[in-house]
């Protein structure tokens, strides 16, 4: 399998606080890697270091053979960022704009400054956006304002925007944390499906272990900025979960035990 991203010895220090301490793992094309860990463990920081929304203190980020951590020029950085889609916990859409416009935002990185500033998308891009919206089940909503949609629909727009980038890698930062259970399932199903059908490498930050067990090809457990687990879901034991979350299993959510039971 083709390795899309390889992190080695990634570190991020904020003064004395070590947000990320020596993180190394890799992701293959079409693979869904779920990062789990308690809040504040550094999951979000790792994700944002990958596309350099945050500058890492040290380490290498090998994406499609290029070291992201060493890219200096703003222009090069932008060119690489457009190959990396990102999905956010709070959707990060522009609610005043139509669903269509929000999805098309995914193309901005590919356009000339003149066309991007004026928001002049090609018919080809529009066709492509329509196809994606249809696939994701939002074709009825294209002219609605993004703010008028439900939470689950907003996140689907977020996915569509990321797919417009033709990404090789998809970073999902707590994509279902603000959603109800049934929308969460739809979103996770779609992320997984996109990864498989389009052969996109996918990193998903989650704090629900049960969801991680159900959707991950591989799980990476982070505790206090370091990786304590990196393997297939079936190897994730109750004891391991306790180490990751620093708490006895019975204090964690009920869903975890159910997930383990389903896995066994």
């Amino acid at each position: 399998m083709e390795k899309v991203l390889e992190l080695s010895h990634l570190k991020k220090y904020y003064g004395q606080t070590h947000a990320v301490e020596d993180v190394s793992f890799h992701v293959n094309a079409g693979e869904v890697v779920v990062i789990i860990g308690p809040s504040g463990a550094g999951k979000s920081t790792v994700l944002r270091c990958i596309n350099r929304m945050i500058d890492p203190t040290d380490g290498n980020i090998l994406f499609e053979g290029q070291d992201m951590a060493r890219v200096k020029k703003e222009k090069e950085l932008k060119a690489i960022r457009r190959r990396i889609g990102m999905i956010f916990q709070s959707f990060n859409l522009v609610y005043r704009l139509s669903v269509f416009q929000n999805v098309l935002h995914g193309r901005l990185g590919y356009m000339s400054t003149f066309h991007a500033v004026a928001g002049r998308y090609t018919e080809e891009d529009k066709r492509k956006a329509l196809d994606i919206l249809k696939m994701i089940g939002l074709e009825e909503m294209i002219y609605k304002k993004a703010g008028e949609l439900s939470g689950g629909q907003k996140q689907r727009v977020g996915i569509a925007r990321a797919l417009m980038q033709d990404p090789a890698l998809l970073l999902c930062d707590e994509p279902i944390a603000s959603l109800d259970p049934s929308s969460s399932k739809v979103i996770m199903d779609q992320i997984k499906q996109m990864a498989k059908t389009r052969n996109i490498a996918c990193i998903v930050n989650l704090h629900q272990v049960d969801v991680a067990l159900a959707y991950a090809d591989r799980i990476v457990g982070i505790h206090r900025g370091t990786i304590v687990f990196d393997d297939v879901p079936s190897k994730l034991t109750g004891a391991m979960i306790e180490t990751i979350y620093d708490a006895p299993l019975e204090q964690l959510t009920v869903g975890i035990e159910e997930g383990i039971a389903a896995n066994a």
């Binding site: 596309n51 060119a79 990102m86 522009v94 609610y95 935002h105 991007a116 928001g119 980038q165």
Partner: protein, 265 residues
């Protein structure tokens, strides 16, 4: 045996803050009373005078010089509208240079904020005095004074609006690989447009009020007409003008409220 501790309904810190602020206000109140020698009861005793003044001197209102008054109102309203519009355009440009999320150059941001604060913290009537030194009495001065304070106010408000909408959706476009100018036109302007308009309407309300005041000290328009009547002790005519001003202010407030509901919904 120790006394059982009193159970507090609110956190200790909050309670202490409330007591402290109450004491500060009380102290300020006493100091101010001592300093200004203000006796509210004295005024209440002399209410008779007040009513006499209202019913004898002020009422009924009179519209004396219809032409001059109509012209004055037109000038005042035009002054307010023009000042709001021009300052909105100027402030928009400076707000993008001064906002945390869009500022291209940090020192420039500080300079813009400093000047905006200077502009709005000097009352428009004092600006009028300063401007009269160079421009002499007239509508030019009134309009400029309004322009200066409105710019100061709108720059700050627009900056706050941009900073508020920025954050999250801005992050998304950065992740997509879009440039700074693109994020401004594609994210910030559409997202902050309602905020901008709401502040613009508010500035219009404020300007309608202050354009009469600016006029009273030499900025021209209806304020100057009113001030003239008062100086000549023609209170009936002054009252007529004041009622007209009130009418215009209420009308404009109703209009802006209507627009807020219609446009910003």
């Amino acid at each position: 045996m120790r006394n059982p501790e009193k159970i507090l309904l609110t956190p200790k810190r909050e309670k202490r803050a409330a007591t402290a602020s109450f004491l500060i206000v009380a102290a300020l109140f006493l100091l101010a009373t001592a300093q200004t020698q203000f006796q509210p009861f004295e005024f209440l005793m002399s209410m008779e005078n007040f009513w006499l003044f209202i019913f004898e001197d002020l009422l009924p209102p009179k519209i004396a010089d219809f032409g001059a008054i109509a012209e004055g109102i037109l000038q005042t309203v035009c002054m307010a509208i023009a000042a709001s519009m021009i300052s909105a355009v100027i402030s928009l440009a400076f707000a993008f240079l001064g906002s945390n999320t869009t500022a291209p150059w940090k020192p420039l941001k500080k300079i813009i904020r400093f000047f905006a604060s200077l502009q709005r913290n000097i009352p428009s009537m004092i600006w009028t005095f300063l401007l009269i030194m160079a421009f002499g009495i007239g509508t030019v001065v009134g309009a400029l004074a309004l322009l200066i304070t409105t710019c100061g106010f709108l720059i700050r408000s627009f900056i706050e609006t941009i900073d508020e909408v920025g954050g999250e959706s801005l992050e998304a476009l950065q992740a997509v690989g879009a440039g700074r100018l693109t994020t401004i036109t594609q994210v910030i302007i559409p997202a902050s447009l309602p905020g901008f308009l709401s502040w613009l309407l508010y500035s219009l309300e404020v300007n309608i009020r202050s354009s009469t005041l600016v006029g009273a000290v030499g900025g021209g328009g209806i304020g100057l007409v009113m001030m003239g009547y008062i100086k000549q002790f023609r209170y009936h005519s002054a009252m007529g003008v004041i009622l007209l001003i009130a009418g215009i202010v209420i009308l404009v407030d109703m209009l802006t409220n209507f627009l807020r509901k219609k446009v910003l919904a």
